[in-house]
């Protein structure tokens, strides 16, 4: 009655083997490595790059343990951190010559020391969360209203020029919040304006109001189109963040959309957190506008007089005021790249801008009409604008390649380029959650979590063995197997292990032993009632199962709730908690029964089982069952 068919043992053996294989990588530790990944969507890391890296290492006489190309990035493993740093310099020099546009990200990283055969089975160590390995976590909120307002503003400009082109006379176009108001003198012009709008601006919906003899046409963005604008804004911001983070050289950054308007950024292992925050937190948008060159504007600039209508006052970086027209020529949307460089003739530091097709067209028109005048590039950070540079237009510029020059040092050119690149955010963002964990704290947290689990485990096993003798030993082994499965599954899923996750692991073990206690107590009770040992084992497992199942389900309900509604640390806890409950049902019931069956099942005339003292009240004294 207490025998397992062969297939049940086969399941146990296979599960154990898988458990061991996937748990193994966690024991090898990590080696310093250099990781090379693509810095741009158009650049692929391939075998050619691999060759370059290997050559660079050979040339620098740095000995790499392994150099592998996997999943679009190259990882070179080294014996110690000295070699690692030397190798990083060598690779960086080979792949990204100074001053040029960096096409690859060369970053320091840690990789598992586990042997190749394990890696080929996709067995890798658990993925450690930021609180265990150190790093920065940000949650950024994208200001969608600002994205929409900006879109409406640029449509207003387009509309104005289009109406002029089509010869529709109007009494003024203005933006009112997120709506565009057009005043029209008569019904004929109204019809003409409506025709233009419906033909050219499919994203707008219109509404007309008669005001005496005049008409007012209000255009607003359709909800579908607004949603699209928001989606695009989010996507562009994520791309921009990618670019900014590439400049930081982080090995495995995580940049993810969360919800409709949030972005989560995780930078594991980043030491210089201040710089990371600085680069990410630079929530800037860019606008190109014409400088107002009228005499009133000059006066306002110098004497602080009244700013002319249709213009605004901004400060240049050296603090001088500049009067700039309100109308926006270009926004950061149209800027695809900005790089520092040197002028071919004068050897003066310059910034090279690349515009997209639409931007290039607009820029060509504007520069043609305004030769000799100044244009201002304004950077908006948190609603405040600052003129980055206000160069004079020397000639018509076509082709979308723009060079900004003039009394810049190399450092200033670098700075301006970075600011301009950073400026290509579609909508402003704000950090709404931030977590920074120093690397030493991470290591301490691992030790704390590890100690908690180890000591708790040892004490429980010791107690079980003392209290339940042989059955206690079985329970202890089952608990060890539970831990093995838990770690194996976490490694397999590459779920992120955090300190709360380690706490959940400890708690899962504490709760898992519950099932074994339930079984052992039940077996003792059956023995106390005078049932034969084999029947007692059978009844003990059978009857305890219903209770174990019920109680695990209620715990699982709590775990699922945490998983569904929790975020951050709670999620890390919930994942391990839920997996722990599932593995405990397997190990505490199925596996431990297997052990018991193996030990006792074959003995037909079993007189006693070793389950500690079975005390019988009738006899008045304890009877040892073994």
């Amino acid at each position: 009655m207490n025998r397992y068919p062969v297939w049940k043992y086969a399941i146990i053996v296979i599960a154990m083997l898988l458990g061991v294989v996937y748990t193994l990588p966690n024991f090898f530790g990590e080696a310093p490595a250099v990781q090379v990944s693509s810095g741009k969507a158009t650049i692929k890391v391939d075998t050619q790059t691999l060759q370059k890296v290997e050559d660079a290492l050979k040339a620098a006489a740095v000995n790499a343990q392994t150099v592998t190309l996997e999943g679009g990035s190259i990882r070179a493993r080294f014996e110690n951190t000295d070699e690692q740093l030397k190798a990083k310099d060598a690779i960086q020099k080979a792949l990204t010559p100074e001053g040029a546009d960096p096409q690859y990200v060369v970053a320091l990283n840690l990789v598992s020391r586990s042997p190749a055969w394990l890696t080929s089975l996709h067995a890798s160590p658990m993925y450690l969360g930021l609180d265990l390995r150190g790093g920065v976590h940000f949650m950024l909120q994208v200001d969608m209203q600002a994205a929409l307002t900006q879109k409406v503003e640029s449509i207003t400009g387009d509309l104005r020029s289009l109406l002029r082109e089509k010869d529709v006379r109007h009494g003024g176009i203005s933006r009112n919040g997120q709506a565009i108001e057009i005043r029209l003198r008569d019904a004929q012009q109204l019809e003409a304006a409506k025709r233009v709008l419906s033909a050219q601006f499919a994203d707008l919906q219109t509404q007309e109001v008669a005001e005496g003899t005049e008409f007012r046409l209000t255009a607003s963005i359709k909800p579908e189109a607004a949603r699209k604008v928001q989606e695009q804004a989010l996507k562009q911001n994520i791309t921009t963040l990618h670019n900014r983070i590439n400049e930081l050289g982080v090995a495995e950054p995580v940049i993810q959309q969360q919800g409709l308007d949030r972005i989560v950024v995780q930078l594991p292992g980043v030491q210089d957190t201040a710089k990371a925050k600085d680069i990410l937190g630079r929530t800037a948008t860019l606008e190109v506008r014409m400088v107002d060159e009228s005499t009133e504007a000059r006066g306002a600039e110098q004497a602080g007089g009244i700013v002319p209508f249709g213009a605004e006052r901004y400060l240049e970086r050296d603090g001088r005021p500049l009067i700039v027209k309100k109308q926006v020529v270009l926004t950061g949307d149209n800027l695809t790249d900005a790089q520092p460089g040197f002028d071919g003739q004068t050897q003066e530091p310059v910034v090279n801008l690349t515009l997209d097709a639409k931007g290039a067209r607009i820029f060509k028109d504007v520069t043609r009409d305004n030769v000799g005048k100044r244009m201002a590039i304004i950077l908006f950070e948190k609603g405040k604008g600052e003129v980055v540079t206000a160069p004079v237009i020397r000639a018509e510029i076509g082709g979308g390649r723009v060079q900004i020059s003039g009394r810049m040092t190399t450092a200033e050119a670098n700075d301006t380029a970075l600011l301009l690149r950073a400026g290509s955010l579609a909508a402003p963002m704000e950090i709404i959650e931030e977590r920074t964990i120093g690397p030493s704290l991470g290591a301490e947290n691992i030790a704390k979590g590890f100690n908690s689990v180890t000591w708790g485990f040892l004490v429980i096993v010791a107690f079980m063995v003392v209290y339940y003798a042989m059955f206690g030993l079985f329970s202890g082994i089952a608990l060890g197997v539970n831990l093995l499965f838990l770690v194996a599954i976490l490694s397999m899923l590459q779920a992120t292990l955090t300190l709360p996750g380690m706490a959940a692991m400890a708690l899962a073990l504490g709760m898992a032993i519950d099932s074994n206690v339930l079984i052992n107590e039940r077996v003792r009770e059956e023995l106390r009632n005078g049932v034969s040992p084999q029947a007692a084992i059978h009844a003990g497992y059978d009857r305890a199962w219903a209770t174990i199942f019920d109680s695990n389900i209620t715990t699982l309900i709590a775990g699922v709730a945490l998983l569904a509604f929790g975020s951050g640390p709670v999620r890390g806890f919930a994942v391990v908690h839920c997996i722990g409950i599932l593995t405990s049902m397997f190990s505490a019931v199925f596996f431990s029964r297997g052990l018991v069956n193996l030990w006792y099942g074959g003995k037909k005339k079993l007189k006693s089982v070793s389950i500690g003292t079975v005390w019988r009240p009738e006899g008045g004294s304890a009877v040892k069952a073994d």
């Binding site: 949650m139 209290y467 300190l499 109680s551 209620t554 699982l556 005390w615």
Partner: protein
């Protein structure tokens, strides 16, 4: 080894009123402290900045407090964290100042004072996130309560479901009461612990209810009170041993887990201790008062053709 040598069923239900009175008084006190003192919520809920810095020598808290307060923050909390060398600084959320600026400013000021200070971690939570977290926490609690009630109502009977959830919610309130009384920091991790305890201590009630159901089948002559007494008596040793072993783990976290896991483990400890009490003394008593009887659990016709009932074979 056997710790529990109980000769006769202990008449728990005779004293049900006393147990429930104790429980009710503790509960009332917990509610009282929750309302008068309130929870000391962590920055995760309130929004704000938390910084942990470390000195090479034991830190002079007053000096740190002085340095930080010169920066113009109101309501700054400065306290030791774990060891005398580690200091935790809590800054309230400020409008218009990003967290990056806040923590940088503080660190620069502290560095100017003592160059040896190092930043161990910072945590910044915007006010809107804090509100969401509090809401999500309440949603999770509601989900757990409703989920458990439905499950127990299906598996057992609504009277059991209601009494189990009352008994265990009272544990939750008592844990919160402790946190309010001692003004321990209530963080997300503690919330997770509270919900885990809720799921866990319902276990206890489930074990006893399982036994009550079995006893109703087995001992046809016993009345409800006797059946409940017998069920509790025969499960008490496993109740205490399992909670004891879970507590060993929690204790290990309390000892080795450091400051971060301290309150998490604390919440679990209180939850486990009161979990024993409430499921043993309170849940069954409430079920008894709700008028649980044999017919609620054993539907004579249905039982025989219900293959899903694991206990259908357990008849003597």
């Amino acid at each position: 080894m056997e710790l529990f040598k109980i000769r006769k069923d202990i008449p728990f239900m005779k004293h049900a009123l006393v147990f429930n009175a104790i429980s009710f008084i503790t509960f009332a006190m917990a509610v009282f402290f929750l309302f008068t003192k309130g929870l000391h919520l962590s920055v995760e809920f309130t929004g704000g900045t938390l910084m942990e810095v470390s000195y090479s020598q034991p830190a002079d808290l007053n000096k740190v407090r002085g340095t930080v307060s010169t920066l113009g923050f109101s309501e700054v909390q400065v306290q030791n964290f774990g060891t005398a060398r580690d200091v935790m600084i809590r800054l309230p959320a400020q409008k218009g100042v990003s967290s990056a600026q806040q923590s940088e400013k503080v660190l620069t000021a502290l560095k100017a004072d003592n160059a040896e200070v190092t930043l161990r971690r910072t945590e910044f939570v915007g006010p809107q996130v804090g509100d969401e977290l509090a809401q999500d926490g309440l949603k999770a609690l509601a989900f757990v309560v409703i989920g458990i009630v439905i499950y127990l109502a299906i598996r057992f009977e609504w009277k059991f479901a209601v009494s189990a959830i009352i008994a265990n919610l009272h544990d939750v309130i008592i844990i919160l009461g402790f946190f309010a009384f001692f003004q321990w920091e209530f963080s997300l991790a503690v919330l997770a612990a509270v919900l885990a305890v809720l799921g866990y201590s319902v276990n206890e009630s489930v074990v006893i209810f399982d036994r009550i159901r079995e006893n109703f089948r087995r001992y046809r002559k016993m009345n409800t009170v006797e059946i409940i007494d017998n069920a509790i008596t025969s499960t008490i040793s496993r109740t205490i041993i399992t909670h004891g072993s879970t507590q060993i783990m929690v204790l290990s976290m309390l000892l080795f887990g450091g400051e971060t896991l301290h309150y998490f483990a604390m919440a679990l400890t209180i939850g486990i201790l009161f979990g024993i009490y409430s499921s043993v003394f309170v849940a069954a008593a409430i079920a008894m008062w709700l008028g649980i009887q044999r017919e609620d659990l054993i539907k004579p016709l249905k039982k025989d053709n219900d293959p899903g009932d694991e206990n259908s074979g357990a008849v003597v």
